[in-house]
Symmetry: D2
Subunit: 144 residues, 4 copies
């Protein structure tokens, strides 16, 4: 897995002179979309085969402000997967200094186009396994 990098844009800043806090929530999404694309099972494809993965909850803890023209590294990590639920945590770093600038989490479920909950395991074992393998890989990299 390659890290995901985002260059902070001018329109993401606010009059405090730093990035508006709501944008980190969007960066989380950017990073999980990128992760799935690297798996070869993109979120666009996921929606095309009839599965939506809406957000049930999100949280972010801000440590250091990101600034215009900073490049931030966002590292998503699947922390839990069940047939009906998905948990992802996020580490946001300043790519230059390596300093952690924010930590976050998102909670998701799986629904069909009518927004009815579905079992991902039944709907796409392939995607379920990708999420599951990603947890195991994450644990292994923690052990090293």
């Amino acid at each position: 897995m390659n890290s995901y990098y985002h260059k902070v844009q001018y329109y993401e800043t606010d009059q405090m002179g730093v990035v508006h806090h709501s944008n980190y929530i969007r960066w989380f999404e950017e990073s999980r979309v990128d992760m799935m694309q690297q798996w070869g099972f993109s979120y666009a494809h996921t929606e095309r085969i009839g599965i939506l993965i809406p957000v049930l909850g999100v949280s972010c803890e801000y440590k250091v402000s990101a600034k215009f023209e900073d490049v931030v590294e966002i590292i998503p990590q699947i922390t839990k997967i069940t047939p009906v639920k998905l948990l992802i945590s996020y580490t946001v770093k300043n790519s230059k200094t390596g300093e952690i600038i924010a930590l976050g989490e998102s909670k998701h479920c799986f629904v069909n186009k009518d927004f009815r909950p579905v079992s991902l395991l039944k709907y796409s074992k392939e995607l379920y396994d990708l999420f599951n393998d990603s947890i195991i890989l994450g644990r292994k990299s923690d052990e090293i």
Copy 2:
């Protein structure tokens, strides 16, 4: 027609200390959506009956910067309607001083859910007439 008012939000500012210029384009949309709602023919309803009104072009001229907590008045004016095309102009004022802070324009067409161009006149004479009457009313108010 009641004027449309928008209170400038913190997240709309950038590190220049004023509203980011891209937000005015969104305010234009807010005002035309509000206008249709006042007509009793909302844009949500329009989409439900199968007509989409995408944007073909947009322009904005910025005169004075809007600031956080300013209340801006956005006045949309239909300037042209044909069965296949729609032109709207916008005047943005500081609601406190009455000063014009921006002028803009948007160009639209009418399409169905498959993004095929449709004649609004055939699809909904009611909405076509609302746009058309609005031009005539605008001209009359100019004459006074």
Copy 3:
């Protein structure tokens, strides 16, 4: 205190056909800015006298999707104030049905223009008291 209402805009929706989840974080901000304005001690004024109130953390739990042209009511409630920290919780309701569609929280500190932490009690006892009184009022309305 009057409730804060926000009309869902088209640009707030995403291709899932509902409001993108990041916007709720922005609505929280809208509601706390409105609350301070109702107190007669606006956030714009707060910044002018040299106090910034950045966000240290934010969370949101999504219950029901908000849709285009829905009007949502956002009710902010101060839950804790100390000289250096502030906690606010948010209830988001569909204004038509009264149904709770989201719950959230934000955590803040007080800093000066150089982003150094300051004691709000020392810097502005007036604002500190407004936050504090709001907690007491909130508790009282819970008792009724």
Copy 4:
């Protein structure tokens, strides 16, 4: 000059299933910021030495809708520079097909931190020359 690429994000789509038109205005900004960074005279640096380059006007013509996970190429081209004014045009392409999906323009002036107009030629001949050279280079590449 390397082209500037932007991957379309989910939060940039709206319920029409395509990118919301306001985002193109933000992509124009992304591309001109990137261009200056490639020159080694970044916009962040420009602001640090006391020059702001606000937007006086912007326009965009939409040809084809960009979609989620599309990669768009945005090519900014300086078209005019005077000591007090700057014009930039933009070509937005689908990076896969090469198809032009939008064309745009932005008009800027140069101001100091108090928003007073300044002569860029006097303030920074280096930056003025970079803008000017870029026009000449653009013309040459057109001739080929």
